[in-house]
């Protein structure tokens, strides 16, 4: 029999959820296919968790449908979730279980062959850096440690689709960075990752595409690049840091650099430059910056463009 190869997919059709008179999610239409990471971005209360719960049949839609890998979760949650890993609302694991036992249970119920279980479990525990805790009871773990086990549980069966609801909540800064690294790593192994977050930088850091949601409404869904260019009319910004405080006269010299359309002092030693001209313009600008001999230490693409779009988009309804 030829091997069937289909791309992983997540789809919502007019997905709507009301709690009483309040509409938490309003007519969400999303079709995501392929192997990539999609950030599901929105402020607190936007409807991200609601969407993910609908996608996993934890709650039921008022209207519309949700499909994972082409299977409606309403009609057959078992088949729909068969090839998905799900992390929603930082679940609790039975406190008397150890990570090894909890993951064994997940692997068993999911149908991971017994011969492969031990190795899979060891691998995913390694990925979340919990190997040395493998045989301790989860009940005594900190919030962040539990979250790592939860992340490991989504990976035991090596799923094609991952639904992650703010996976880095409850983790310390190093933990957050590690989770981001894990997610970035997961992308390499041909998966579709749908990750909610209210932190823009997190989405920018690990995702290829972004769906922005606010007050239950999808504002846009596009690649990060397209979003940036679409909303910044050809402008981009760089943040430059210098070894010593800039003189007032330096501002004029910076403003005169090729392509620069505006500058803004972030602090005495840092300045944000808005410029035009795409990648070529950026190259010429950096060459120009170096040529000024102002003690340039570093240049970084500022996130301000997206940040501005984010804030501007989610405040439009006010």
């Amino acid at each position: 029999m030829p091997k069937l190869v289909t791309v992983p997919s997540i789809e919502t059709r007019d997905l709507t959820k009301s709690f009483g008179h309040f509409t938490a999610l309003n007519g969400l239409n999303l079709k995501i296919e392929g192997t990539k990471c999609v950030g599901f971005l929105g402020p607190n209360g936007a409807g991200k968790t609601t969407t993910l719960k609908l996608l996993t049949n934890m709650i039921f839609p008022t209207r519309g449908d949700a499909l994972l890998n082409g299977v409606s979760v309403r009609e057959d949650r078992k088949a729909a979730l068969a090839d998905a890993g799900v992390l929603i609302e930082s679940p609790e694991i039975y406190p008397s279980l150890t990570p090894n036992e909890a993951l064994e249970m997940v692997a068993d119920l999911r149908g991971v062959p017994p011969a492969e279980r031990a190795e899979r479990i060891a691998t995913v525990l390694g990925e979340v850096k919990m190997t040395e805790w493998a045989d301790q009871k989860v009940g005594r773990f900190s919030k962040g440690m539990k979250q790592r086990i939860n992340i490991a549980a989504t990976l035991v069966h090596d799923p094609a689709v991952l639904l992650l609801d703010e996976p880095s909540t409850g983790l310390d800064p190093r933990g957050m960075a590690e989770v981001r690294a894990i997610v970035r790593d997961l992308k390499k192994s041909r998966r579709l990752i749908f990750m909610s977050s209210h932190i823009l930088s997190e989405v920018v850091d690990v995702c290829d595409e972004v769906a922005l949601i606010d007050r239950g409404k999808l504002l846009f869904y596009d690649t990060l690049e397209n979003v940036t260019t679409r909303f910044s009319d050809g402008h981009a910004s760089l943040d430059a840091s210098f070894a010593r405080p800039l003189e007032p006269a330096d501002d004029a010299r910076l403003a005169a650099l090729p392509g620069v359309t505006g500058s803004q002092r972030l602090d005495p030693k840092r300045v944000r430059l808005r410029f035009q001209g795409g990648a070529g313009g950026q190259e010429r600008l950096i060459e120009g910056l170096v040529g000024l001999h102002l003690g340039l230490l570093s240049v970084a693409e500022s996130e301000s463009a997206l940040e501005e779009i984010y804030l501007q988009q989610i405040s439009r309804g006010d």
Binding site: K3, V5, T6, L81, A82, D158
Partner: protein, 291 residues
């Protein structure tokens, strides 16, 4: 058909639901047997057993006049309390706890039907509760051996045990029903305990005294068959018997009516409760949202 993606998905087969029920039952049962709750319940049963042992040793008399009388009063006197406690201990938060403690989010992320979760948890709670019944049975048999020797176990005990196992299912069914009706564990605990420890008995008295019909719809009525099988002149049938006694209190003539269920009747009623409560509880859980 689910899409198959190259990599893991192609080779993974999610077990069929019946197999998942079996697996889940095993994990849940292990959870129960390891719990502090299980130890506490065994301790409570040991205390109940010790009290009964002391009572029998102290009063002897009619209690040990025959092996049937002994087994009837010891087993019949303690097992219904043991059953209600066990059901409440293991079933009270079986469903509500999944919501309250957020462990449900862990299970519900798996490719598993809600029915599978419900049935698996029910069977596990049933087995754990039945295991604690065995502890009480062991205390009984030890006492019986002391008074009558090991060979003198009456056949009625086996029948009574069978009825008790059906009763356990009925109480557990109700416990699971309350547990899915309220997402708060405490309600399930309290309601089941109140209802089965005295609520139904009061209701039964009210029905007999005021409505003056056979209280077949009340489970405490059916439950009395567990002890009744040890009696003499047992009604094995499917219909209850009505006894009217007239007593003189002073110069007043007071008539009182008692109903005794047939053994088959009691069995059918308890089975009905088991099936009814389990089914309605399952329907509730199917519609429950993990908000």
């Amino acid at each position: 058909m689910g899409a198959v993606v190259d990599g893991a998905a192609g080779r993974l087969r999610v077990p069929v639901s019946s197999e998942q029920v079996f697996k889940l039952t095993r994990y849940q049962l292990r959870e129960y047997l390891r719990s502090r709750r299980f130890v506490a319940l065994i301790a409570i049963i040991a205390v109940i057993g010790a009290i009964l042992t002391a009572l029998v040793a102290h009063f002897r008399g009619g209690l040990v006049s025959s092996n049937v009388a002994f087994y009837g009063s010891f087993w019949g006197g303690g097992i219904d309390l043991v059953i209600v406690l066990a059901a409440v201990f293991f079933g009270g938060d079986a469903i509500a706890g999944e919501f309250q403690n957020k462990t449900g989010y862990f299970l519900m992320g798996l490719p598993i039907r809600r029915t599978t979760v419900y049935v698996g948890k029910f069977i596990a709670a049933y087995l754990a509760a039945a295991a604690t019944m065995l502890v009480f049975l062991a205390i009984l048999l030890a006492n019986g051996a002391y008074y009558f020797g090991t060979g003198a176990v009456p056949w009625q005990l086996l029948l009574s045990l069978a009825l008790a196992l059906v009763y356990l299912g009925a109480v557990l069914g109700a416990t699971f029903f309350f547990s899915s009706l309220f997402k708060t564990s405490a309600y399930g605990f309290v309601l089941t305990a109140i209802l089965f420890l005295f609520g139904f008995t009061i209701l039964q008295d009210v029905i007999v005294g005021l409505v003056k019909i056979e209280p077949w719809m009340v489970i405490s009525y059916a439950e009395s068959t567990i002890g009744n099988v040890f009696g003499s002149g047992v009604n094995w049938g499917i219909f209850g018997t009505k006894t009217t006694t007239t007593t003189m209190i002073g110069r007043m003539m007071v008539q009182s009516t008692t109903w005794t269920p047939g053994i088959a009747e009691g069995f059918v009623i308890m089975l009905g409760y088991l099936i009814g409560t389990a089914a309605v509880g399952l329907l509730l859980f199917e519609r429950e949202e993990f908000t």
